[in-house]
């Protein structure tokens, strides 16, 4: 794994790897991911991270605050790419970490880990800009196809990117999903990646035009049937970095501070100790002097708006 160590050193300096190296790493990490279930079993203590969205310097901040991998065990809930300026560096670093320490970091799939979404929200464009072709994008899209959909921490905390589905009552039903493909726009797979909690009971259609809204009663039922204690998910921006819903039955963790470099929000990581106590460690964006400003970012100022 010496070569992966060298890659990690380069990446932490925000240097890109060669296309051939990335292809090799992606191929090797797929072999690791192939063996993971749709529902990963993760031990505690573990630190859970929400959406990162290509905010590379804030990811480095997370490792500063939460501890370096492999010293700290990590579970990432998806949405590694799109919107940020360093999507490539972010996903390459996380992929290398997974290859190097497969038991110390778990990467789930978010709704942005898809060909359709990344073509529109920035990852595809960044790859073409930095590598001159879309090959690296397609290597990572193949990796995305193998990312597991959910995890359970110490048999008690259910983790997923979006939320629950009306078609899933038992965790065993999630294990039956064929995840090795581009996520469809509707159905269980889509729900797990797109759903949001809501004040209304039951399942309702989401305003996002994808996934469902799910109420407190659905969470209670799901936890009870599966012998779980809480749900931990990401997917929704929290101005305070995290949000607790349904009297503690569900929490949202959001890990991209000052989202898109202008929303002004703080972020958090959820540190879970061996006794399954949750603590949200809140942090702000990495300071300006520790960030690189991306070059060649021509901002498209729209001329007409009438």
């Amino acid at each position: 794994m010496d070569d992966v160590d060298k890659c990690l050193e380069k990446l932490k300096r925000c240097e890109l790897l060669s296309q051939a190296t990335i292809k090799d790493i992606c191929t090797r990490v797929i072999d690791v991911l192939l063996d993971e279930s749709n529902v990963c079993e993760v031990d505690a203590p573990v630190t859970v991270v929400g959406d990162v969205h290509g905010q590379f310097y804030d990811l480095l901040e997370i490792f500063q605050i939460g501890g370096e991998c492999p010293d700290t065990r990590y579970l990432f809930l998806g949405d590694y790419v799109d919107r940020g300026h360093f999507n490539l560096e972010t996903i390459t670093l996380l992929t290398c970490l997974k290859l190097r320490w497969p038991d110390r970091i778990t990467l789930l799939r978010g709704n942005h880990e898809s060909r359709q979404i990344t073509q529109v929200y920035g990852f595809y464009k960044e790859v073409v800009q930095k590598y001159g072709s879309a090959d690296v994008w397609s290597y990572f899209c193949e990796v995305f196809d193998y990312l597991p959909l959910s995890a359970i921490i110490a048999g008690k905390i259910f983790c997923v990117h979006g939320g629950l589905s009306p078609a899933v009552l038992s965790v065993d039903q999630i294990k039956l999903i064929d995840r090795f493909r581009e996520p469809p726009s509707e159905g269980v797979f889509a729900d797990l990646l797109w759903s949001d909690p809501s004040d209304r009971d039951g399942f309702n259609l989401s305003q996002r035009n994808a996934g469902h809204l799910f109420g407190k009663d659905t969470v209670e039922r799901f936890l009870h049937v599966n012998g779980l204690s809480t749900v931990l998910r990401a997917h929704q921006l929290c101005m305070e970095g995290y949000q607790i819903h349904f009297d503690g039955l569900l929490a949202t963790v959001w890990s991209a501070p000052n989202y898109c470099y202008r929303c002004g929000n703080v972020a958090s990581i959820c540190e879970i100790d061996a006794s399954l106590n949750r603590e949200f460690n809140v942090f702000s964006a990495a300071p300006e002097d520790r960030r690189e400003v991306p070059s060649g970012q021509a901002k498209q100022v729209p001329d007409y708006f009438l």
């Binding site: 529109v120 090795f180 305003q207 035009n209 921006l237 729209p302 009438l306």
Partner: protein
């Protein structure tokens, strides 16, 4: 020709191999209709038949949201409509879906003509009007209240005439934003669609219960306008308008200019949508000039856009925002989108007139929107 890349998967053991396949998408060609004679009613009828299905002229009062002056002035507004909801032999029991489309500043109802054909092909219906001082409509002020009243009244007339909207007991034909509408009942699913300035009109209608009562909709779609970006661009907009040619030698020249400057990217659409934007110079002048005095509306722009993002987020209907690029979101909408408050759809490779640049793509998006929420018209 444009191609959509479709990925086909093939399993080999437990590994996936993917090969892209090019799937050609149907070309769209619209016949260009140029009318040089005939009454306004005749012209509207022919244009309507060519692009939408039908056309009519609605006469309505000029009122504000606070003051009724229905008797003191009148606007003549061409309204175009088409689709199964307006068919002569329509099954009254079957549900219908009608998009009520409000065009952008300086444009006309024909802005939606390229898209109309695609919507109708999917069993959906459309109504689009010329707002005051635009296209074939008579002149009128461009304040938000007048635009709102014009949009609601013209759409209502057509919907009521075709039994797609049942007026309440207190409402009459000349009801206006000031007088309000009591208890009108939709007999179809109505979705408001607004482009740019029209998006501000549509949002303000949807956000106000009194105005919503005039056009009771289930969904709102805004095309490429965002408060933050609009206000940020406002300073440069005056200069942009001043830099436009004041006149063109011919309608064809006007079409060519829109394409050459890159403002519009689809020649077939521009050939349809640009002609209504210019009129004969008249008074011994040569060539054609701009129909709408956009530059003089500058003092209205703030009132069109200030507060729009908050209003959009507060609209109780299902909402879809279609943008030409992700950069166009302002902070308020960015937060709202990441909190799942509405659907965001980015259309690639288009400009500000995205429904003209990619009419099939935008029609598909609208179809997906109404399909997801179960408002699709029932099969006949």
């Amino acid at each position: 020709m444009c191609y959509q890349w479709v990925l086909t998967g093939e399993r080999v053991g437990r590994r996936l191999r993917r090969t892209p396949a090019a799937v050609p998408v149907e070309d769209t060609f619209l016949d260009v209709v140029v009318m040089s004679s005939g009454s306004k009613g005749e012209q509207v009828s022919v244009i309507g038949a060519s692009y939408f299905g039908q056309g009519t002229v609605v006469t309505t009062g000029v009122c504000s949201t606070t003051e009724c002056s229905c008797g003191s002035g009148s606007l003549e507004l061409p309204v175009y409509f088409g689709g199964p909801a307006f068919a002569e032999t329509r099954d009254e029991q079957a549900s219908q879906l009608v998009f009520v489309c409000i065009h952008g500043g300086g444009m006309s109802a024909l802005s939606f003509a390229p898209m109309a054909k695609h919507l109708v092909a999917k069993g959906l219906s459309i109504v689009a009007m010329d707002l005051p001082a635009h296209g074939g409509a008579t002149d009128g002020p461009l304040d938000m209240a007048t635009l709102i009243g014009a949009a609601i009244n013209s759409a209502r007339r057509v919907l009521i005439d075709h039994n797609l909207l049942v007026p309440g007991s207190g409402a009459s034909e000349s009801s206006c934003p000031a007088a309000g509408w009591d208890g009108s009942t939709p007999a179809a699913h109505l979705v408001l669609v607004g482009h740019s300035m029209g998006g501000a009109v549509a949002t303000r209608i949807a956000a106000d219960p009194q105005l919503s009562a005039g056009l009771p909709a289930v969904g709102l779609t805004v095309l490429d306008v965002v408060e933050g970006t609009a206000l940020a661009a406002a300073d440069g907009m005056g200069a942009l308008l001043a830099a436009r040619p004041a006149s063109f030698d011919s309608v064809d020249d006007a079409v060519a200019w829109h394409l050459a400057t890159g403002l519009m990217r689809n020649p077939d659409s521009a050939a349809t949508t640009v002609p209504p934007l210019v009129v004969d110079a008249g008074d011994g002048g040569e060539g054609v000039v701009w129909r709408t005095p956009l530059a003089s509306s500058a003092d209205q722009w703030d009132s069109w856009y200030i507060g729009l993002s908050e209003l959009f987020l507060a609209v109780p209907h299902r909402k879809l925002l279609v943008l030409a690029a992700t950069d166009r979101l302002d902070t308020q909408l960015m937060v709202g989108q990441m909190q799942g408050k509405f659907q965001l759809k980015i259309i690639p490779d288009v400009g500000h007139w995205l429904h003209e640049d990619d009419p099939a793509g935008v029609a598909n998006t609208l179809h997906g929107f109404v399909h997801f929420f179960g408002w699709m018209p029932s099969e006949h």
